[in-house]
Symmetry: C3
Subunit: 264 residues, 3 copies
């Protein structure tokens, strides 16, 4: 029988966020061309340090030094794929966690094969929307094409299966986010549909998930807290902006000023 | 004898914009590195969906699915040129329109050859400034170098010739924009010189032109409406911002809130 | 005995800035992927013209035409390194100044070798933080890793040595910026730590340094003025924004409205 997940308790989120603020992790971002500036600014606003190191030999070297690694395949191309593989191998050898954002996986063959290959390399977490998680889980066998409008709750069974088969924490995000290790899950509320009219909010969330994966403690809680931080600040920013253009500045300011107590 | 074009009637613009809002087209953007975020955010603010898919085999696959394709050669390099050719061929085979933004064509040899090659592949529309349109038309034989300060009205004869020889709708933009199919043309007013102090406003316009080219109906009117939408919102944003930094947020908000009636 | 540098006199800064405004230089930027939009918008706000031309043969052609060239190795990769070498050689042949921003040099081997190679090609100026300047100077022999938290004043001896050995003006930036030709130096005050929470402010400064290197007159004063312009506007923007998100718009507006008299 399907159990609807509980909402992540505020005291857990607050504790994870306090830990985050005291760690200021250094995050290696191999992400897509379109969202690099927003991704960096989101991490900086939260007090983390982003770095984009893309030449394969340097990406390998840097992954050993950074606290965690983000792999986002939004604008995947062959040379960047080589850098990603080198970085993931180095991160795995050094015991550093890495996170997969499988942008648009399912419909496009090249990236779908690549994402399946990455999946076998044991990401610490996967963050995607409903259609991406369903495509990656392999559960979806219907004739209907993968659709980013799929509801996140409908994708929760696929997320659980993917978590169990891959060993990763899976965050399937949408109007409500669900975070699961395959056995336990949290729901995370907040956010606003306006965020889908600003490019890169989902990709930046994956970077924040990556940063939280570098923390000690329960990874399920850490990933859910990353989602909660972004959802809360997104909701606040929406309330005080006038559209998707003015959203970004208010959102980054909200991330910068967020205190652990506000997550209670 | 030279005929000065009439201004695009507001009721035509309003009708095209209503059509656009009901279609929410998916636009494949192969554009330059500098302007990708603004380009995506402009399309999102208007209700369209942008996607940047750059690996040649994926670019080819995605062009068949998207409603229209943008080719912007601002930061052209060899691997991206291959992706562009694959995407254009696929779009042509699938009967999807594609648009050429010939950034800085004329002075630089590599891109000029590439743009001439693309021209033979039948773009649905071309959007450039006066010097780019004059260079691409081949009309300009004077010793004076191509100059981006060329007036758009002075380039209208070149635009008409280019439209006739290529079969594309040509939009030559400047203080006033002129849109022509070689026989008929529209003038589009609005905008502000401040927009030239914000990187990517012209490139984003080309993306909006691409989105409007995916609509049914008269393509000449559709392209002119794309220009009018951007000019009107640019004018409004200039009136309520304090410089090029605060322009962008206000501009995107204006695009997000624009209603068809306001174009009347 | 160590001499603490004097602060750049306001009348020198004002004179350099007046010269800058009358020249509106065209700047060829071969810079990192993350900061291209901010870099372009900073140059545009100040009245300069940025262009990113990246295919090696075009980069070579364009460097002869532009007034100055920026080389920033933040997201260095092999094809871009080839473009950079071609552009630097062409700039040198044409007598155009070029500036090196040695992002993250020291720790990462590939870029460190490349930066050392570039150093022998005689940059007009080098702009980096304390750890980058110390690494590039080769002075640092301690076991402690290069640390971006190194103080700019502590790096001034390394900056002077680097200026003497390379022939470049060296700007080592931090809470206070120091600009040296190896014999004489200026201190530049202003700025705010908030700027370190916005990606690309340092990289954009290097672009402004590049633009000022294209001016006639004393290069030491020109580079110091570039630093002063950014520090003053950064300080003003911090005073009227609410965090790193709202900083950028206010900062670009401040650059746009800056008058020479305000530098007195």
């Amino acid at each position: 029988m399907f159990t609807r997940p509980d909402v992540l308790p505020g005291n857990r989120a607050a504790a994870c966020f306090s830990l985050f603020k005291s760690h200021s992790p250094l995050i290696h971002c191999l992400t897509n061309e379109v969202v690099q500036e927003l991704t960096a600014n989101v991490l900086l606003a939260l007090g983390a340090s982003p770095a984009m190191v893309v030449e394969p030999q340097e990406a390998e070297q840097f992954s050993r030094v950074a606290d965690a690694l983000l792999i986002n395949i939004g604008t995947l191309h062959q040379p960047r794929a080589e850098a990603m593989l080198a970085a993931v191998e180095a991160a795995n050898q050094a015991g550093k966690p890495w996170v997969l954002d499988p942008v648009a996986v399912g419909g496009l063959e090249y990236r779908t094969r690549f994402a399946q290959h990455l999946l076998a390399m044991k990401p610490a977490a996967i963050r995607g929307n409903a259609s991406e998680v369903m495509a990656l889980s392999g559960l979806q066998a219907s004739g209907r094409g993968v659709d980013s409008r799929d509801d996140s709750l409908a994708a929760l069974p696929a997320a659980r299966a993917l978590a169990r088969s891959s060993g990763a924490i899976v965050a399937v995000t949408g109007a409500v986010d669900y975070v699961t290790d395959g056995e336990r899950d949290w729901a995370v509320t907040g956010g606003d549909p306006l965020m889908t009219r600003v490019v890169g909010t989902g990709c930046a969330l994956s970077a924040v998930v990556t940063a939280f994966c570098s923390l000690p403690g329960e990874r399920l809680d850490n990933v859910a807290t990353a989602c909660r931080v972004m959802a809360l600040c997104g909701e606040r920013a929406t309330a005080s902006c006038h559209g998707p253009g003015s959203f970004t500045a208010v959102f980054l300011d909200a991330l910068y000023h967020l205190c652990a107590e506000e997550l209670q």
